[in-house]
Amino acid sequence: MAVEANGGRPWNLRESYLFDRVTIAEIQRAAREGIYDIRGFGAKRPLPHFDDLLFLGASISRYPLEGYRERCATDVVLGTRFARKPLELKIPVTIAGMSFGALSAPAKEALGRGATEVGTSTTTGDGGMTDEEREHSETLVYQLLPSRYGMSPDDLRRADAIEVVVGQGAKPGGGGMLLGHKISDRVAEMRDLPKGIDQRSASRHPDWTGPDDLEIKIHELREITDWEKPVFVKVGATRTYYDVQLAVKAGADVIVVDGMQGGTAATQDVFIEHVGIPTLPAVRLAVDALTELGMHRQVQLIVSGGIRSGADVAKALALGADAVSIGTAALIAMGDNSPEYEDAYRRIGSSAGYYDDWQAGRDPVGISTQDDELAARFDPVVGGRKIANYLRVLTLETQTLARACGKSHVHNLEPEDLVALTVEAAAMARVPLAGTSWVPGWEQP
């Protein structure tokens, strides 16, 4: 019995905490291959997250709303500050930007189909807009990234909103790389580059630097689109308080803050695991920044990075977000890492539940690939249905928690509805440790 508890090894064998088997394998891989580990997915290390918060359901001092009966609204309007045509979404969960190139065309189509079915938006990515995703996405956000791959004023005008991407949670301060083996003829043509070469996405925009320039850039985008489209600004969570304030002052309609758990198609592991701050403190910092400027709810806040369930959605909203965005969870909902493909994963040296080689283009599910044969395995209609189902579940779960707290709109959730399970989470989210009135690092005025 005791031997089994040590993984079948005698108790006198002790694994190093510092040099555990994962670390040993990585050191030996680096020595063998001479290149750092590039992978997809998001941070895998344990981090303070929404799991460390709990809701205080209603009882005597608050009364709840009846589940399945009393109305609990979920609609959200994004871009009310300057845009002539703000986005009106039915649910506060959107699909994050993921590129055609990183994802197959059928996968992008499925995201659009699913989002449209439940009345929310999806987002393009680094590499431009495809006709398929425009056709199947009722509400499509068009990203303006440093690479400007495929950037076109026609696509700007046929988009429903514009997202200026400054950074993303998986790699704030980093550019991107679409490795050569994922560059198909179509991807190459869209990006104006030869087939088969590594495509570097720059870390800075080519024609603006800093907040003063950003303000002028946003003004140009508004002029080109006749002030019709909401302009989002997306930042990876680092110096979130200042970044959000600067983005607001630059004229953003909507701020997107992506925590370090946010996914990526291809980034160095060292970047994913060691740069940025978790989503939990980022939400609070962003809300603080907006509140101080008197712009909370005037400039909408979208939070992303590790959203998995309605509980995560509800907690983000309670902390002050207007909506959340999902990326990794959307891919998983469509079948990524499904045990159904275990044999196929094993053949490429991975396993269901562990697969993160989204950069490699060998995805057996047909999502993160440009291989026609693999992509053909993925049915965009079925994938779209799965996305819609998943978004509905997220929404229902969010409503369930909101009703339990007595809220007739999910936006009525508030920090006062939350307590923290750990000191770290209490300090980061600035809600009291459960059973106490203690908010570490904060003194009541």
């Binding site: 690479s147 004023p153 026609d154 490795l179 990006r191 024609d207 002028i216 002029e223 006749d226 002030w227």
Partner: protein
């Protein structure tokens, strides 16, 4: 020209004075030309450094701007001819798709950034990062260009009749660079290449299109060594 003919020509030019007309109104009227016919010639007075002047046009129209313009003049231009009788600030004709943009004076940073088509001509000098990430646009600079010009340039041509600053063509892909004067230094993976007759012919055509009187034989050609196209650890020192 008779007085009557002069009057007719004057009438054919739509004059917009930005001292009295909001920029928004000018750009909206220019954008409306993609949906309904309107004046073919426009003259913009008193730009006074305004940003995004004539940005986002998608029409066969000629716009002359009398004075200096701010950032992103003629940004994302399609089909239109935009002439600036003055200097232009950052991001001149950024991401232009087609058409012709001509600046009589100097251009600030990132002129022609990410441009995907058309021709950009700068009669004076262009500052740093001219042609950064260019994707098919042709750029002719009659003067010199600053550092990091043609950084990550993908396709298209950058012609520099004067000198080029440091790190020209750093991380360049398939763009062609022609420089008549000195090059302070070449960036990573950018090398001098033989200027063959096919290149001289291309260069001659670009110079003619830009209205520049120069002999292609006086230029040198630079482009990608294509050594950094796929990551190899042995190249780490080059980055």
């Amino acid at each position: 020209m008779s007085a009557l003919a002069a009057d007719r020509e004057e009438a054919a030019v739509e004059i917009v004075d930005l001292a009295t007309t909001p920029l928004r109104e000018l750009n909206q009227r220019l954008h409306d030309l993609s949906r309904a016919p309107g004046p073919a010639h426009w003259r913009v007075l008193n730009p006074n450094g305004a940003h995004a002047v004539a940005a986002g046009i998608d029409a066969d129209v000629e716009v002359e701007i009398d004075g200096h313009v701010g950032y992103y003049c003629a940004g994302m231009n399609k089909r239109a001819t935009v002439r600036v009788h003055g200097n232009a600030s950052t991001g001149l004709a950024e991401n232009m798709m087609s058409g012709l943009v001509v600046v009589d004076g100097n251009a600030s940073q990132s002129a022609g950034a990410t441009g995907r088509g058309g021709l950009l001509v700068v009669r004076g000098d262009a500052s740093a990062r001219c042609g950064i990430s260019m994707k098919g646009v042709d750029i002719v600079v009659q003067g010199s260009v600053g550092h990091m010009s043609a950084f990550m340039a993908q396709t298209g041509c950058l012609v520099v009749c004067g000198d080029a600053g440091e790190a020209l063509g750093d991380s360049i892909y398939e763009a062609r660079l022609y420089v008549r004067g000195s090059v302070a230094s070449l960036g990573a993976d950018c090398v001098e290449k033989e200027l063959r007759e096919e290149h001289a012919a291309q260069l001659r055509g670009l110079l003619e299109a830009a209205g520049v009187d120069a002999d292609p034989a006086e230029f040198r050609r630079y482009g990608s060594a294509r050594q950094l196209y796929n990551f190899r650890i042995d190249n780490a020192g080059a980055y």
